[in-house]
């Protein structure tokens, strides 16, 4: 599969501050690629370099074979962008904004269809300043897609949205992807990355900590599985403690707590079955991206 975006050893400093230290990754055609990290990790600076808004101090970037700085004019035709903290004029109406932006591009999408698809048709005559947060976000997505881009860069797509609007936006992103648009998603929401992204780059302090699928990252982090249950009969804990996949067993208030690797659950349930013990109130905590991030960087992603 051809790489749509290639970032090699990107570096960007503002005076003394190193915003991006050394970032490399590749985005494949048709995937949703997540850039995940705490505030100030260098996510936004990285995508701004890809968009050609900032000149890197070091490293190379190629987007669809173009250099974001040198080939800016051509790049803007094929790269759709949604920026953090950017707006259209307050008194511009939704339909006017879409019509205007579509006139900027060589082969734009039909803005009326796009308006309908994004659920903004009944807001066509509403001024931008009168839209709700979710509607503004949808317009912003529509404006990013109106040029029929091959690649869409979306920065903090669902920040500030209520849970319902967030889920609707995720659904929309999956629909857009199914039309073959490659997407780069900047986020600090774990749930968002797990739900949408094919692959995720974890960025911390201006560096890439890891790039993998969300599941792969969780596995890579060697995060333990945590299992708890209430045994139906009194049981000998050594039965479980002796298992090679189990790292610890404790009992508290009649509940048994087991920690172990990814196979621990299988091992534990077969032992219980063999001994005719039923695990009541069984709960398993799977490692997720959040755990992976803590494990790989030693800190939590802020905002949670």
């Amino acid at each position: 599969m051809p790489a749509v975006i290639e970032v090699r050893n990107l570096r960007k400093t503002y005076g003394e501050t190193v915003a991006v230290d050394d970032v490399s990754f590749t985005v494949q055609d048709g995937e949703i690629f997540g850039i995940l990290g705490p505030n100030g990790a260098g996510k936004t600076t990285t995508v701004e370099c890809i968009e050609g808004l900032r000149a890197p101090d070091g490293g190379t970037i190629s987007v669809l074979g173009l250099d974001p700085r040198r080939d800016r004019a051509e790049l803007t035709q094929t790269l759709g962008v949604q920026l953090q903290h950017s707006e259209v004029p307050e008194k511009l109406q939704v339909a006017e904004a879409l019509e205007l932006y579509s006139s900027f591009y060589r082969s734009p999408a039909d803005w009326r269809t796009l308006m309908e698809v994004l659920g903004l048709a009944d807001k066509a005559k509403t001024r931008y300043g009168k839209l709700s947060g979710g509607q503004k976000q949808r317009l912003s997505i529509a404006l990013a897609l109106v040029g029929r881009p091959k690649v869409a860069m979306l920065d903090e797509l669902t920040t500030g949205l209520d849970p319902q609007a967030r889920r609707d936006t995720w659904q929309l992103m999956e629909d857009v992807r199914s039309r073959g648009v490659t997407m780069v998603l900047v986020t600090h929401f774990m749930e968002e990355a797990e739900r949408l992204c094919d692959r995720v780059a974890l960025i911390d302090a201006g560096r890439v900590v890891a790039v993998d699928t969300p599941a792969g990252l969780a596995e890579k982090a060697h995060v333990e599985q945590r299992i708890q249950f209430r045994p139906s009969v009194e049981m000998d804990l050594d039965l479980l403690a002796d298992l090679p996949d189990v790292t610890g067993v404790t009992r508290r208030d009649g509940l048994v707590f087991v920690t172990g690797n990814n196979n621990a659950l299988n091992a534990v349930t077969s032992v219980l079955a063999r001994n005719h013990i039923v695990a009541e109130h069984l709960r398993v905590e799977q490692a997720n991206l959040e755990d992976a991030f803590v494990e790989l960087t030693g800190r939590r992603i802020s905002g949670r």
Binding site: L83, K91, E99, L100, S103, S107, D175
Partner: protein
């Protein structure tokens, strides 16, 4: 989303620029600052002054002109000053503050054309205002039209150039819309004083008159007035306006940021 999003015929860059200017003009009307203060208010003043009987008598101190004759160039400058010092910079600074310019930077059109569209909208408004203004002055109040027409046009163009340059400079050095608005307003009053809005330049003490001649609006009014009276505008006034246009234009270009 699987709905087919058909491709309409590609728009030419020219049509994008036209649409942008049209959108900016629509926003300009909705914003009301320019239309009310830059167009309506000077027109209203003209009509009020025109209806004051004593303003219509030729006076010796004005070299045989009436008070109204004297005020027409002042009000023309008033309109230009409002559009350039208030409407233009507050819109541009607001666009930058809200990320409107930055957003456009990621599209093929780029932010420079918005600046161009804003300048065009304000200039066209100022020009239309000028024409309406002179027509009303002539038809309703029998004010003599500029006798040195070429000189009048030249003076107006230079006045517009220097004031727009100052407006762009304000937009360049202020971080927010409200800051730009505040600075524009604060500059407006002393500049209009020296243009003779409250006290005609002819009646100023000589020290104030000398200062007035060197200020942007004072030079503009002097040049417009001389051209109205049939003389070619004084070279000094024209050069002063060119100077302001160049200095503030260069400074604005030097410091203007898209974000």
């Amino acid at each position: 989303m699987s709905a087919n999003i058909a491709t309409p015929p590609a728009a030419s860059p020219g049509s994008a620029l036209w649409r942008l200017s049209r959108a900016e003009f629509r926003l300009y009307l909705r914003d009301r600052v320019g239309p009310i203060w830059g167009v309506g208010f000077p027109l209203l003043l003209l009509i009020i002054f025109g209806n004051i009987p004593s303003f219509n008598h030729a006076k010796h101190v004005y070299g045989g002109l009436t008070e109204l004759d004297i005020y027409v160039p002042v009000l023309v400058a008033f309109s230009l000053a409002i559009l350039s010092l208030t409407a233009l910079p507050s819109t541009l600074a607001g666009y930058r503050e809200k990320g409107v310019l930055r957003r456009l930077e990621t599209t093929p059109i780029g932010p420079a054309r918005v600046l161009g569209a804003q300048l065009a909208v304000n200039l066209v408004t100022a020009l239309v205002t000028l024409v309406v203004f002179l027509a009303v002055a002539k038809l309703a109040f029998d004010v003599v039209l500029p006798k040195q027409f070429g000189g009048f046009v030249l003076a107006w163009v230079l006045a517009a150039a220097q004031l727009m340059a100052i407006g762009l400079f304000i937009a360049a050095v202020t971080p927010t819309r409200s800051a730009a608005q505040a600075i524009g307003t604060v500059l407006f009053f002393p500049m209009m004083f020296f243009a003779g809005l409250w006290l005609p330049i002819e009646q100023m003490p000589s020290i104030l008159r000398t200062i007035s001649h060197d200020t942007p609006l004072g030079a503009a009014v002097r040049a417009l007035k001389d051209a109205s009276g049939g003389h070619f505008p004084p070279t000094a006034s024209l050069l002063i306006m060119v100077g302001y246009a160049v200095v503030f234009g260069v400074a604005a270009a030097r410091w203007f940021r898209w974000e």
